[in-house]
Every structure is written in C-alpha cells, then in structure tokens.
C-alpha cells in the first residue's frame, strides 16, 4: 500500500520491500519443505536414508520405494500394493461425489427459488448436520450397516459418504441459487415453464461453477476421509487412506521410509492434482463451508 501514496521510494522502503519478499519466501519454504522431504526420501535407497541427510538430494535415484509401494506393500498379511486400494477409493469417491451433488442441486433449487413454510428451518436443521463431529453417528451407523448387510463393504461406506455429504452439497446450491436473478425467474413464470423444466433448462446450466465446487469438495473429502473408512471397511474394501495408515503402522524390522513416502505421495496425488487444476473452486468450497449466507 505504501507505493500508492509515495511517488518515489526511499531507501528504507526498498529495504522493507526486500524484507517483505524475504519473509514470504521463508514461509513458502516452510510450507514446501515437507513435500520436498517426501519426494527426495521416496527416491532414495534405504541405506542412503539411514545414513542421514534428511534434506539432501539423493546421490542416486532409486525407485525401489515407488515400485514396492505400488506393487508389494502389505496391509496385514496381504501384500498386493496400493493399486487395489486406490481403486476402492476411486469407486467410493466417484459415487459419493455424483449422487450427493445431483441431489444437492435439486435441494438447493427447492430451498432457494421455491421457498415454502418451514423451508428455512429445514435448511438450518440440515446445515447443523454438516458440522456435527461424526463420532456422534459412528456407533449407530456401524450397527445400521451391519443390520442391512452392508457392514465392512464399499457400498456401506459409499452410502455413509452420500448421507453425510448431502448437508454440504445442499448448502452450496442453496446459497448459489439464493442470489439467482429474479427477473429470469419471473420471466419463466410468465412463460409458464414448469418446476422441473425451469430447473433443467435454466437453473442447472447456470450453476456450473457451484457444481464444480460441490464436486471438488465431495471428492476431496471422501478421498481424504479416514474416520468413516476405517470404521466401515475391512481389508478387501479398505480405501487408500486406511491402507496407507496400515502400511506405515506395520513395523517389521527396519521401517522402509522410502516406501512409506512413496505410498503417501501416491495417496495424496489425486487431491493434490485436483487442487492444482482447480484451486480456485477448492478454496471457494472451503470458504462456503465456513462462512454461510
């Protein structure tokens, strides 16, 4: 802001400016350091890791960690690598992204453009569901899934994600449609367009940005989830986060840090990629989940 007022900069201003960038670069290094350590550790041989030099670049590139993590890493006694668990995560997250987003779009549409008596109360009650600590539903949910025969299965986990994702997706679409231009709604009214046609033809096509927000939110959250996944799955149906935690927990003999780090990078890559491609929408989802209204 300094340079708005001051036409030319004094020496102190320049020094301040240099310091400013210095501090910012320092912070960037702080945020990047763990990622850097993960990457270099993952491509070192175990001997090199055990010789120390946490931040050193590898003397020789060694992809043992990556191939072990992908092909052979063990969960319990099963040593099939990460691939099957990545697949499980992908199935659960995809279903748990599409279905709640679709339902949330309709819900948000009804709650904002077709208000009825009690619709605000409905929204408020549903919204609370987005903030509960999921520990409070964990025991009944586990019994319920057992009761209907979905315990320890990917279907049960996906169902759980869908149910507890609905408050968020509804929130996004409701808050988006609430600011919908009323001229359009009124024009549609005069034309006599019906409820679903207006949704399909006008509302939904205009909601693409918030749809992206909702998709990214659901995908990231379900992919990264651990609490539900560790409760609702068993070995074959485990998601990648449960598997990762188990790879790392299994400690027989020397810990293979290169394998651990490669596995962690693989597990984190999908959401990191989504963030790098669509960070703006990711942030918007975070903010919309934090600041209502």
């Amino acid at each position: 802001m300094n340079d708005i007022v001051l036409g030319q900069r004094s020496l102190t201003d320049r020094l301040l400016r240099v310091a400013l960038y210095g501090v910012l670069i320092g912070f960037m290094l702080f945020y990047l350091a763990p990622l850097y350590v993960m990457v270099v550790t993952s491509v070192k041989s175990l001997e090199e890791i055990l010789a120390g030099g946490l931040m050193n670049l590898p003397k020789k590139l060694d992809f043992y960690g990556w191939s072990e993590a992908w092909n052979n890493a063990c969960v319990g006694t099963e040593c099939r690598g990460m691939a099957p668990f990545m697949w499980n995560s992908l199935i659960a997250s995809t279903a748990a992204t599409i279905i709640p987003t679709a339902i949330g779009a309709l819900n948000g549409y009804a709650l904002s453009l077709w208000r009825f008596k009690g619709s605000e109360l409905f929204f408020g009650l549903l919204l609370f569901g987005a903030f509960i600590p999921f520990q409070i539903v964990l025991l009944p949910m586990a019994s319920f899934l057992g009761w209907i025969g979905w315990s320890s299965s990917l279907v049960g986990l996906t169902f759980t994600y869908i149910v507890y994702g609905l408050p968020f997706t509804t929130l996004y679409f409701r808050n988006f449609f609430v600011s919908f231009p009323m001229d359009l709604v009124n024009a549609a009214k005069i034309d006599g367009i019906g409820y679903f046609r207006f949704f399909w033809r006008v509302a939904l096509p205009s909601s693409v940005p918030i749809m992206i927000v909702s998709i990214i939110w659901q995908f990231t959250n379900t992919w990264n989830d651990f609490l539900f996944a560790s409760t609702m799955t068993k070995l074959e149906s485990a998601t990648v986060m449960v598997a990762l935690n188990n790879f790392v927990e299994v400690a027989n003999g020397v810990k293979r840090y290169n394998v651990d780090m490669a596995a962690a990078i693989i597990a984190g890559l999908p959401t990191l990629a989504v963030y790098l491609v669509a960070g703006r929408y990711f942030l918007r989802g975070l903010m919309a989940g934090a600041v209502k209204g």
Partner: protein, 316 residues
C-alpha cells in the same frame, strides 16, 4: 457468501417466486417440499435419529454389547472420573489453544503481507494453501518421518553443526502434543490466511489512503484501523479452527497414534478406542456426546448469527 453481494439490489429485493405455477395437481403444487423429502428422511434418521440414539446409548448400561437399560448419567459420571478421559480433555485444551492462536497469527500475518501488492501473489497463495488439499493421513505420515528422532530434523540440526541438538518431541510424553500442533498449524494456516485476505480485500482502500495523508505510520494504521475492521474474520477463523481442533482425529492417528502411551490422546481418539477397540460402547457414546455438545455450543450460535445477518442483508 460472495455471490449475492455482486448482484444489484433490485434483484435481491424482487418478490419471491412463490407464485410460479407448478401445475394444478396436488403433486404439482407440492413439488418443492416433495423434492426435499428424501433428504429430509435421511437427515431425520441418520443425523438426528442417530444423534438421539448415541445420546441414549450413553445413558444405557451397554458394555460389550448394547444393553438398553436406562441408567441415567451413570456412564457420564464414570467417563469424567476416568484418568484417560482427563488426559484427552486436557490435551484438547492445550492443542486447541495453541493451534488456534498460532494459526490465527500466522494466517493474519501472511494475509497482511500478501496484501502489499506482491508479485506472483497467486503462486504464493497456491503454495501456502496446498496442504489443505491433502489428507491428514498423508501429511501425518510425512511429519512422522520428518520429526522422527535420529534421522529427522534432529539429524538435520547435527548436519548444520548443532552437534548436541536433540529433537525427540515426537516420542516424549510431555512434548508429543506440540508436534501435533506443528503439523496442524502447517496444514491449516493457509486457509486462515485466505479468510483474512478475503476480509482485507473487502476494506475500502480510501480509509487507508486518508489515514496515510494524515501521516499515520503503516504499523499504526494496521493496529488502529485495519485489524479492528477484521473482527468478523477473526470470529470466523476462531470458530473454524476450534471446530477443526475438536474433530481432529486422523492427524493424531497418523502422527502419534495417541502416544507415547496416552500422551496425545484427544476426545476423538478416546472415543474410537472405547467404542470400537475396547467395546465399551456406553463410555464411547458418552465421549461422543461430550464432543457433540462442545461443537454445538460453538456452532449453533455461529450458524444462527450467520443465517440471521445474511437474511437481513438480503431483505434490506
């Protein structure tokens, strides 16, 4: 939040579209709430029904298997007399206090620095915020390696010439909780930065300019004028961080697994251990109930004020 602010006031003030025709049949007239019915049923059962069930379980005689004999507050009393629960609650205070304070300060400082017409601001923001996209299991795994005594930061310090340096907090009973704070701050402070930055960008720049004309120093302007205007952002940041702190579970599991011993136990890890691993269902349910009450005490007033202020700004 932001969308409605960009629209002309006339659009906001327009009459509600309630008169939009949906047809003359009963179904046609009731379509809006019929649309919401499936979600309503799911919410009633899986959110409110299950909350009620867990609270009831916490007042039952359940142990290894559910036993729905009502015993009143007996299990709650038992819970609060448990030493391990005391440790978990105490840890939550230490963890959330430090986590909230440090993440708020770092977030605010970063936001102010980034608001100085910085080159490559977008890139810097992307770097600061990326940990939020990662799972706590992933980052916990990374920090566990970085903090491991022997080959982690400790060896780095040795390499840098601090031969005597020791950094074994991860495995020290009295220090391990601070490593959880470090990893949590690293992961979440970027988000807090984004909240403060959005709020800073909403401040009228002419306030700053006129204060500068009066010869006030930058430091003074921030302290006296800008930061006080960020009060709603502070409020939001603290609520979010507190909410995160109470729900923190994965990070502790991946980083310390509650240990050494029970040194980094939080109510969330306590709950899981008792409900699922030890199968003391009623105690687990009681601890979950305490978590819910704590969060509700923070979130309900927050949601209420947010919804109310939003409705007011929309009708005015």
């Amino acid at each position: 939040m932001a969308i409605s602010e960009h629209l002309p006031a006339a659009a906001k003030a327009a009459p509600k579209p309630r008169t939009l025709r949906t047809g003359t049949t009963w179904v046609g007239r009731n379509l809006p709430w019929l649309t919401l019915l499936p979600t309503g049923i799911l919410g009633a059962v899986f959110i409110y029904g299950f909350i009620a069930l867990t609270i009831y379980t916490s007042m039952s005689a359940s142990k290894l298997i559910p036993d729905y004999t009502f015993v009143g507050f007996e299990q709650w009393v038992k819970l609060w007399s448990m030493r391990r629960w005391g440790i978990a609650v105490n840890n939550l205070f230490v963890f959330s206090g430090l986590f909230i304070a440090i993440a708020t300060v770092i977030g605010l400082v970063l936001a102010i620095l980034l608001d100085q017409r910085i080159r490559h601001e977008g890139t810097i923001r992307t770097v600061i915020l990326y940990p939020m996209a990662l799972s706590f299991i992933v980052t916990g795994t990374a920090w566990k390696w970085i903090l491991n005594p022997g080959l982690g930061i400790e060896s780095l310090l040795h390499d840098w010439g601090f031969v005597e340096a020791q950094f074994d907090w991860l495995v020290r009973r009295d220090r391990a909780i601070y490593t959880v704070v470090l990893a949590a701050v690293w992961q979440s402070s970027g988000f807090i930065m984004a909240i403060f930055l959005a709020s800073l960008r909403g401040i009228d720049p002419s306030i700053m300019q006129s204060a500068m004309m009066d010869g006030a120093s930058t430091w003074r302007i921030y302290r006296r004028i800008i930061i006080p205007q960020l009060r709603p952002a502070f409020f939001t940041a603290v609520v979010i961080l507190l909410h995160m702190a109470i729900k923190s579970y994965d990070l502790v599991i991946a980083l310390t697994n509650g240990g050494p011993g029970t040194a980094t136990d939080l109510p969330s890890t306590f709950m899981y251990d008792y409900a699922f691993d030890r199968s003391r269902i009623a105690i687990g349910a009681a601890s979950a109930t305490m978590m819910l009450f704590t969060i509700a005490a923070v979130i309900v007033p927050y949601l209420y004020s947010e919804l109310r202020s939003h409705n007011r700004s929309r009708t005015s």
